[in-house]
């Protein structure tokens, strides 16, 4: 039974991947592309967020700071040195991960709440710094970033973010199922136990944090050159809250849960978009939805979507066997 279930899961995955590649060829529509891109972008963001939130149990409230570090590094390099965004992906990721290493080294020796609060400070400080450096970053006027691809169609961006997401999932799955992932899980479950069996707790926590933030930096660069304009607000809670909500709704520690949850949440927002145009709902309402989802997930549905699916599967297996 178990083997069949696994291969069924595999087939489902392959079909899903193939579908993801074919989907934009069926719906040849820029609007569909943009929705798909935002779904996968947010799924990718939340999956990397999940690496710290679900495994070492450090909810990174400053995720946006690392995201912005990547975005602004590449954007500034492109503006002042004419560096292509493709090359900008490398320094963007490096800057975000070295910032994460510094923050992690400083705070992850202590308990998780410290790292969460502190990386939030870092993000806020970065926001204020970027806003204050008006001469360099243009502050709230926004920094213009050159696009990855010439032309106006969003199709290549879709394939780029899809490939990024698949590679990210492969890397994260490999980490999670390996020795490193075991260390992460043990640290999340019981720190003392982890120390007892000889896990270097601080090292693995910092490592987990850095990997998660490296993805944040990479995705930040994508964000900058996809939307072509960034403001200091990419370093604020307006990025962290959706990432956090999508990740928690998907299910902490599941990694894959982010995709369905991003799809559902963003689709709902898309369906509500006509009302946005006539002013019935606004920017604020989206964040109210995120807030309510967070409250519900924290109190009543702690497993999120992944937990619900797991329960359903167990029920199904029990009734059939």
């Amino acid at each position: 039974m178990g083997k069949i279930a696994i291969s069924k899961g595999r087939i489902f995955l392959y079909v899903l991947t193939a579908l993801a590649f074919i989907l934009p060829l069926i719906f040849r529509n820029e609007y569909v592309y943009s929705v798909l891109i935002s779904i996968i972008l947010w799924a990718a963001i939340s999956s990397s967020f999940d690496l710290t939130a679900g495994f070492i149990k450090v909810t990174n409230f400053g995720y946006a700071g690392f995201f912005a570090a990547g975005a602004y590094t590449s954007g500034l390099l492109a503006l002042y040195y004419g560096v292509s965004p493709w090359i900008g992906l490398i320094p963007g990721t490096l800057v975000a991960s070295s910032l994460a290493a510094a923050v992690g080294f400083l705070t992850l020796r202590l308990h998780g709440i410290f790292a969460a609060a502190f990386s939030w400070f870092i993000a806020e400080a970065l926001k204020y710094t970027l806003a204050a450096l008006t001469d360099i970053t243009r502050g709230y006027h926004g920094l213009a970033c050159p696009p990855f691809f010439p032309g106006i169609t969003r199709l290549p961006y879709y394939y780029m973010i899809l490939l990024t997401y698949i590679v990210e999932l492969l890397i994260i799955m490999r980490i999670v199922n390996g020795k490193m992932g075991f260390a992460f899980k043990v640290i999340g479950e019981d720190e003392t136990a982890a120390r007892t069996i000889g896990v270097n707790v601080t090292f693995y926590r910092v490592l987990c944090f850095v990997i998660s933030c490296a993805f944040a930096g990479f995705l930040g660069v994508f964000y900058a050159h996809y939307y072509n304009v960034i403001t200091p607000d990419v370093s604020s809670l307006s990025v962290t809250v959706p990432a956090l909500a999508i990740c928690y709704v998907g299910g902490r520690g599941s990694i894959w849960g982010s995709l369905p949850s991003a799809a559902i949440i963003l689709m709902i927002f898309e369906l509500l978009r006509p009302y946005e145009a006539i002013g019935i709902i606004s920017f604020a309402h989206k964040y109210i939805v995120y807030g309510i989802l967070l409250i519900i997930v924290m109190i009543w549905v702690q497993g999120g979507l992944a937990g619900a699916v797991k329960k359903l599967m167990e029920k199904y297996v029990r009734t059939t066997s």
Binding site: T59, H111, G112, A117, F121, A131, A245, Y287, G291, M298
Partner: protein, 291 residues
């Protein structure tokens, strides 16, 4: 001059920081929403003062009572069920949950009141001169009131039965419950008190500046900076450090270009963390790292 400014600015932070430290120290709740309690307090008092034309002191009392009940309701409705399921991750879960609540409050206020600044010209008109600096009576009364409220909190915690029960719960929950303290009620009461203090801070902020939907963001950040500098859960330390933060900000405003005064406190936190990770005043509540 600087000292007077520091005292007044600090008196705006002291209530929120003390209430945050109270939550940390007693019931290990990491609240992300105290800035928003201040925001709500500001709105409530604005409508009491302007729409109903009440006396400032009366408005202050009514706002405090309302915020207290709001805090109690939130604790009973949301934090209590969370506590039943959380176990070891309790503090972290409260952090995320209160972030969710704060998003609802902030954006709810944005949707209801719009991106408009609400403020009154003054609670009490007139000004006096101290050490050659003329200060409005408002600021002076607010400073005095803040200090009085903090002293009242201290007296309440030290000398009343309930206050001592609260402190005992903070020291050891199980022991307190063995001695007949209803721990659930203490949680509710503590949360209500901290909401009350933050709400009153919001009234003061509204009187001196203005209240607006996203006010909670920076207010919350500042309270957290204070609490981290002081050491989590250290109420006394939080009171001193509020004035320290105010001093740092005033120095930064004077010496640095606009926009940088928000960066300097964070750099200061980094330095404190580097050299004394438990905060300047250390933490009296040792177990805080284990929760």
């Amino acid at each position: 001059m600087d000292i007077v400014l520091t005292l007044i600015r600090g008196s705006l932070y002291v209530l929120v920081s003390a209430s945050l430290a109270l939550l940390f120290g007693i019931i290990s709740v990491a609240s992300f929403m105290h800035g928003d309690f201040a925001m709500l307090g500001g709105y409530v008092s604005f409508f009491l003062l302007v729409s109903l034309g009440l006396d400032p002191i009366l408005a202050l009392v009514i706002t405090g009572v309302l915020m207290f009940f709001l805090g109690c309701t939130i604790e009973k409705a949301l934090l209590l069920p969370l506590r039943k399921t959380s176990g070891k991750l309790w503090m972290f879960n409260t952090f995320v949950l209160t972030l969710g609540i704060s998003q609802v409050f902030q954006n709810g206020a944005l949707a209801v009141f719009g991106p408009i600044f609400y403020g009154v010209r003054s609670l009490w008109a007139g000004e006096v001169s101290i050490f050659g600096v003329s200060i409005s009576i408002d600021r002076l009364i607010i400073l005095v009131l803040s200090i009085t409220i903090i002293a009242g909190l201290w007296a309440f915690l030290k000398y009343t039965r309930i206050g001592r029960a609260i402190l005992a719960t903070g020291m050891n929950e199980e022991a307190a419950s063995i001695y007949g303290v209803n721990v659930n009620n203490i949680y509710t009461l503590t949360f209500g008190i901290s909401a009350l203090l933050s709400g009153i801070a919001g009234v003061f902020y509204m009187a001196l500046f203005t209240t607006y939907p996203l006010m909670g963001v920076s207010y919350n950040l500042k309270a957290w900076i204070v609490v981290l500098i002081a050491g989590l859960g250290n109420i006394k330390g939080a009171i001193y450090c509020s004035f320290l933060l105010a001093f740092i900000e005033i120095v930064a405003t004077k010496t640095l270009a606009a926009g940088w005064q928000n960066v300097l406190p964070v750099i200061f936190v980094i330095l404190v963390l580097l050299f004394k990770p438990t905060g300047i005043f250390g933490t009296e509540v040792k177990g805080i790292w284990e929760r």
